[in-house]
Each structure stands twice: as structure tokens, then as C-alpha cells.
Point group: C2
Chain length 496, copies 2
Amino acid sequence: MASSTVDQSQVARNGLREKVLTLNSMNPRVRRVEYAVRGPIVQRALELEQELRQGVKKPFTEVIRANIGDAQAMGQRPITFLRQVLALCVNPDLLNSPNFPDDAKKRAERILQACGGHSLGAYSISSGIQLIREDVAQYIERRDGGIPADPNNVFLSTGASDAIVTVLKLLVAGEGHTRTGVLIPIPQYPLYSATLAELGAVQVDYYLEEERAWALDVAELHRALCQARDHCCPRALCVINPGNPTGQVQTRECIEDVIRFAFQERLFLLADEVYQDNVYSAGSQFHSFKKVLMEMGPPYAVQQELASFHSTSKGYMGECGFRGGYVEVVNMDPAVQQQMLKLMSVRLCPPVPGQALLDLVVSPPAPTDPSFMQFQAERQAVLAELAAKARLTEQVFSEAPGISCNPVQGAMYSFPRIQLPPRAVQLAQELGLAPDMFFCLCLLEETGICVVPGSGFGQREGTYHFRMTILPPLEKLRLLLEKLTRFHAKFTLEYS
Amino acid sequence: MASSTVDQSQVARNGLREKVLTLNSMNPRVRRVEYAVRGPIVQRALELEQELRQGVKKPFTEVIRANIGDAQAMGQRPITFLRQVLALCVNPDLLNSPNFPDDAKKRAERILQACGGHSLGAYSISSGIQLIREDVAQYIERRDGGIPADPNNVFLSTGASDAIVTVLKLLVAGEGHTRTGVLIPIPQYPLYSATLAELGAVQVDYYLEEERAWALDVAELHRALCQARDHCCPRALCVINPGNPTGQVQTRECIEDVIRFAFQERLFLLADEVYQDNVYSAGSQFHSFKKVLMEMGPPYAVQQELASFHSTSKGYMGECGFRGGYVEVVNMDPAVQQQMLKLMSVRLCPPVPGQALLDLVVSPPAPTDPSFMQFQAERQAVLAELAAKARLTEQVFSEAPGISCNPVQGAMYSFPRIQLPPRAVQLAQELGLAPDMFFCLCLLEETGICVVPGSGFGQREGTYHFRMTILPPLEKLRLLLEKLTRFHAKFTLEYS
Ligand SMILES: Cc1ncc(COP(=O)(O)O)c(C=O)c1O
Ligand SMILES: Cc1ncc(COP(=O)(O)O)c(C=O)c1O
């Protein structure tokens, strides 16, 4: 090859020549992606942790990560039964051990029977193990008071994230004015904005009503839709219920209104229901979009297209690391469903341990099973503590001047609104930071508390929030809330 | 709301109205995706299995899936040490059990220490657990004879598939004539063609030389590149070594040529090295692109951009279901690397059990560890059997008239070329099928053997192949190969 001379001259001309892949030459859509939950504030938290380890003096002794809905990272213990069955599946030699309850062994054997080569180490079919899809369908039926669910409409996934991205991917088409628009709530879980940016779809914001505990208002959906129709083709509507970051739980009436709206306006519905087991407020109850849709009868029940997402990451189990999840599709065009399966098959299959875990979550021990009592006790304990932490959060914030916070009806977060003094807003702008980002960074530097600024989720212009999880252990959460409100008072004073 | 009247009239006009999401309105790129390894032939295999279960009479008693590189599904047993440590990680109560070797316990404790909340159930950081990235870097250093690897350049992933898609995603930009082109080998692993279709990048085919045991020829790269420059902007070159579906293992000289070519032509290199532990031929040896690149010295070593992929799915462990994998990037623009991390963070993290498994694969028991002997014995047994099966495959096919097959130097597949009689080709065309698809479907119907037609991987016009794994147990494989060659002879006679 006569190449080396060419190479040398190129190099000589410009020293180290430009890379092939640079910020400028890179996929421009990737550049537009934002993901606040793991953004600069988390970067900084990591650095601070390292500094602490190196003995650097700080006004705090540990960084507290209240930025992400990761229960076990905050000390929540895994549910015994789930881990027993999984260990048996991972290492079937243990099936001979006397140290596992019989029902755990039976469940492990049942799952292994359904795996290729009777092993978690084989790929499954791309939609997930058939037996587990059947168990998921039965779970949905029980949850929805007997309304039928078809296992062929259930697709297992790598966490709910994966399924959400897949369904959004199917929906994106057109160019310019015909480009797909997708309505998402503001504030939202940033997976939505990030995915739409990556896919080049148009993000259409509808604002939740902070004054009504972050309720969804159909008139606002109308407004957003009408405005969007000027510049794109809105084809889908995302709803997060219970809400992240809002903690709101939707009423049945609201869900009916949303379904009517989606039907009338020809919008594919995406219902993110990963917090369906996380409802705390006495007056609140989880209603699945599927159930409400079916109970509304025709034409809705037989025509409205819906995808509902669930996950093993939240609920009482908090098994985020296993990346289990599923989507149930309702009234989807069978040809499109085939295409979805094809798309999923390119990545082969969701992680099989996560599939196994999902199976246990959707069919927990029955009252007659040896593991039932312990399972129930552990489950209740987790949910009761989460409820107590939701109440505590609400209570502390409601008493703090300059902070207002809606009740945490469900999910795992509070999203309090904060007053920021004008000088802080101005200083932030000079630093090129969103004012609430500035607040959160100061909070982190001074207290070690890591929360995510509201600007990462979206908020009405001129309002400021942060999102904080309710996951730290109760007594730690109390200290943290107090520290945080004290810091806010001090910050307000400092910049007034 | 005044909606219900509107709804009714819409429904009345056209009965069940058209879906929002149809084959026509769907993302057109998704429609273009093809994925043969799990395509119609596998669909049919599933149906046949069901028919067999229902007692339908067939000329065979079981369907043999030689279509996918899934060792454990074909009966390969998991490596004991890997599963012991994983079970300990999943259920740490077992750390008190006397039934696990000490080194397995130590390894489990070490991994759990590095997990959030000391649990596999917490999300990890998006690039993967730091300790495991460090272990991967050390593995790469050992593999490459001491050439340094930086853990910050290692990103864990959900199988290698996920990392490959992510890197390709970064590379796609431009429109029309400036659209990113990516050179891929023909025949290829269809993840590449599928992902490029989904991303809307231009697939640029370069043909491997069947006559030289599927070697890569740089002159052919030149040809492909020059032609592609007429209609797109080629920016990346993918190489699969050892090859899927070809079973070819590249020589060091070839790799040097490819690197020189990529450097000279300003192409980002993607080296798919998931079969790096699967080399069987006496004359063949695995050389990593990273090692060769570094040993070539400047300007290559300091400038050529490279991403190298590895997986827990292949090798001696065959742990496909856990979805473990990683990419090491070399000479990547740090700003782009940041963007890659951001992109990964949208999906939160790779499955943590898969990360743990990867850790064990990259740092297996040391000679002084109690588990070493058994681990080595199991590992060697698997690799020796694979080598025997590679030889057997080659031997049987080389004796069959109308079939010619290159040596299976590595990976897990043979890709024999078959003569198809003109009447079969014509009949296939009348049926709207690729001739080799027709052959494979007939084979499946008559023998229960499931292999994938060459058209699913790409092949030179007018040539026909199929891909078959070498994974069935040795004696079964022998029967299968004989059955297959007999079927081909009969098929040839029938359609001559
Ligand atoms: C509203 C919502 N949807 C989806 C997800 C994704 O969760 P996973 O991918 O872990 O299932 C999350 C995670 O926090 C979430 O809050
Ligand atoms: C060449 C090649 N690359 C990548 C993969 C992806 O494997 P995984 O995603 O299971 O790591 C495969 C799987 O068969 C393969 O053959």
C-alpha cells in the first residue's frame, strides 16, 4: 500500500488531525438529548464522594443521593422470597438444599422449565418467555377485576425504559409539518424528552396543574394539541400515573376524560404505570388505563390504541438492577405488533434474570404457600414505610416558609416549589445556570444532599422546583428534610 | 365534553375507523429493518414444535434449532464457578452456607461491595460499576500483552448488541449525499444491517472472499468505499473477527491493512470481537484490533478511532440470557465520549447481574484459588468440544457433493455454500422466496432442522448458503450433518 506517505503528509499538515467523530460531526439528535436525573449535579455528587474518601474537609460527612428512585441503593432490603427463587434459578444445584422453602423451589423449577436448555443463560424469544407473558397477563386480569388480558399482547423488556423507547420508535414518522408530535406532561420523567430528541420527534408539552395537586386538565391537553397542529402531526399522548416527579395519582374521571380526548383526537395512548403499587394517600387509588378503557365500552374499548408499561424497579420490590419490565398493548394493529416484535428481536431478548424476577412480582406467593406470611410482612413493611415517608415529606415542606409542596399521593418523589430570591436568580443567570440548578448545586456543596432541579423535568416559566425522593430511611429523611429547609431559609436570606 | 357525538359520527361513517398506528403510518425505517436470525424460518420452527406437542405426525420427532448461537439452549452446562458467585450475589444469605468455596464467597462480597446498597437490585452508574470496568481494563491489558487499557474508556452494556447500536447511533448524521455510510462485511451479522436501517444510515457492503476462506481483502474495501462516496459519506468500518457467519479468523497482517486503510480513509473502526475466545484452527490465533493498533505505533496508535465489543454470550461460558457486554473505545474524542455516556444514561444502566457475570468472565479464578481446577477443566472441556464440532462440520460438508464449506476457524457457525438446482430456484422465485430460503424451509419441514438462509446475512448474487451453528452436542451434530447432506442430495435430485 502506498498509504503511509499520504498519512504522514496529512499528519504533518495539521499535527494531530481532527477526529472522525467529533461533537460537530456527531449525530445532532444525540447532542440535543438531555438527561437531568444523571446530569451535572450527579457528576458533581460523584466528585464530592471521591473528595470525602480522600479526606477533603466538607461541611458534611456523606453525600445523600435523593436524586434517583433507587430504593435498594438507599438501604431498602430485597424481598426474601424473590431472591431465594432467583438464587435457585441461577444455581439449580441449590434445589437440593434444605435451606429453601418448598414453594421457592417449585417456582424456580417452573421458571427453569420454561427457559431454553432449562437455564437463565439461554436467550429467550424476543418478546420474553411465554410462560412469564402468560403470568403477566393473569396478573393484569386480576389487577383489572377480571378484564381479560392476552399474553400475546404482552412484551417483556429491559426495564420499562426499553419498552417505552420501542413504542415511541414505532410512532415516529414524517418530516417538517408532518413530523410526529408526542404530548408529554410537564413536569415529566426525562426519559420522554430525551427519547423524543433522539428520535427527532416533536415534543409537545402539556402542563399539569400545580394548584390542583398536579392534576391533568383536559382543557390544557386541548390547548397544547391545537398549538402543536400548526407545526407538527401529534399522534401520541403520554401519561405518567402515578406521576414522576409529581407524586400525583389520577382520578378515574380524569382517566376517562383523557381516553375520550385521545380517541376523539386520534392519539395513541402511552400509560406509564410503573408506580402502580406506590399509592399512599387515603383518598387515592390506582386505576389502570386498560381497565378504565375497557369499562368505557365501545367505541373506546374496541378501538383506542394503548400501551401500558410496568417495571420491576419500583413498587415494594425496588429491583432496579435486574432491568425487568413489560408493555401490554391494547387495540394495536396486528401488523404493527409484528413489526414491534421484529424490532425487539434485533437486540435478541430482555435479560432473563429480570424476566424471572418479573414473573415472581406478577405472581407472588399465594396464601397457602409456605412463603406467604413472610412475603406479605416484608411487602407491607416496605409500603407502610414509604407511606410514612410520603407524609413526613409533605408535612415538613408544608411548614417551611418559601417552600410549597403538594401531597405525595403516590410514586417516590416530592416536587416542591421553591421561592428563589431575585439576587440568586440574577447570579445564576450570570453563571449561565438555571436558577434552580444553581440552588441545587449550592445545596449539594453545603449539605451533601443531592436533588434534581425542576428545570430537568420542565416547569412553568418563572417557577422553580426540585425533585427529591422519599427513599432514605425515615429518620435520615427527617434530618435531611430539616437540613434542606434550613438551607433554603439561609439561601433566601443570603441572596435577598 | 361534547366529544361523544363526534366520536359516534366518526365511527358510524366508517365502522371501525383506521388505527392511528398502521403499517403505513408507522416509522418507515422500522419497516425496512430485517432480522433473519429470528425471522420467518424461526416462526415456522415454533409452529412445528407446537404441532409436534399436539401430536401432529411429522417426518421427525424434534425441531433442532441450529439457527442461533445459543450454547446453553443446546444443552451446554453453565460454568459452576460463575453460577456459584452469581447465586451468592443474588442471595447474600448464602454467604453463610458451607456449600460454597471460599473464593466464590470472596468474589461475591467484592462485587456486592461495589454495588449501590450492596445489592444487585440497585441501578449502577450508566457506564457500569466502576470496579467491574477496572477489572475489564485489566483483562484487556492481560489479553493484549500489557498494552494499557483505561477503565474510563470501558462502558458496560446490555449484551454487545446494545453497545454496538449505541456507537453506530453516535455516527449517524447528514442527509442525502452527506448521510453517514457504514461499511459492513457481506456476509454479516444482521444486527448491523438492521441497526443501519433503523438509524437511516447507508449500508455499504464489502464482500468477504469466499475463495480465501472468507478473508477480508483491502482492495475490496477500496472498491466499496469509492463506489459509496458517490452517494453517501462513509465514516465507519465494521469488522467481525472471528467472523459470524463465516467462522473466519483474521490474520495479523490483514488487521494491520484494515487499520491502515481506515486511518487513510478517515473511517471510525468498529471491531466486533465477541468470539475472541472461540478460535479452533491450529493455524489461527485471535489478535485484537486494539493490540495491533497500539503495536503499529504513531500515527495509528494515537489517532485511529476504534470501538471494540465483547460479550458474555459466547466464548466458553455462553451466558446469553444475562445480557452482559462491554465496549472499549480508543482515541475517541473526549467530548463525544461524554455524549455517549449521556445517551447511555437515558436507559439508566445495563442489567447488574450481567455486569457481575462479566466481572467473573474477565477475572476468572487464579491458579491458587480453590475453584481454579474445576473452572479450568470445565472451560477446557467446552472449548475442546467446540473445536471437535468445528472439525466435524467441516469434514462432513467437505465430503458432500454440491456443498462446499470453508474451515470453521473460529466463532460458532459454518456457512456452507450450496448448489441449488435451476428448477428449485425457479420455483422459489414463483413463490416469492429467496432460493436459499426455499431450501431452508423445505429442510425444516422435512427434517426439523432449523438453519438460516444465506440471504439473511448477504451473499454474492447467484450464490446460495445457509448458516448453521456448531452447538448441538457432538453426536447429535453428526446425525444432523448427515441428515442435512442427505436432504440436500435428495432436494437436488428432486428439482433437477
Ligand atoms: C415514570 C417512569 N417511567 C419509567 C421508568 C423507567 O424505569 P425502569 O427502566 O427501571 O423500569 C422510571 C424510572 O425511574 C420512571 O420513573
Ligand atoms: C458477531 C456478533 N456480534 C454481536 C452479537 C450480540 O451478542 P450479545 O448481544 O448477546 O452480546 C452476536 C450474537 O450472536 C454476534 O454474533
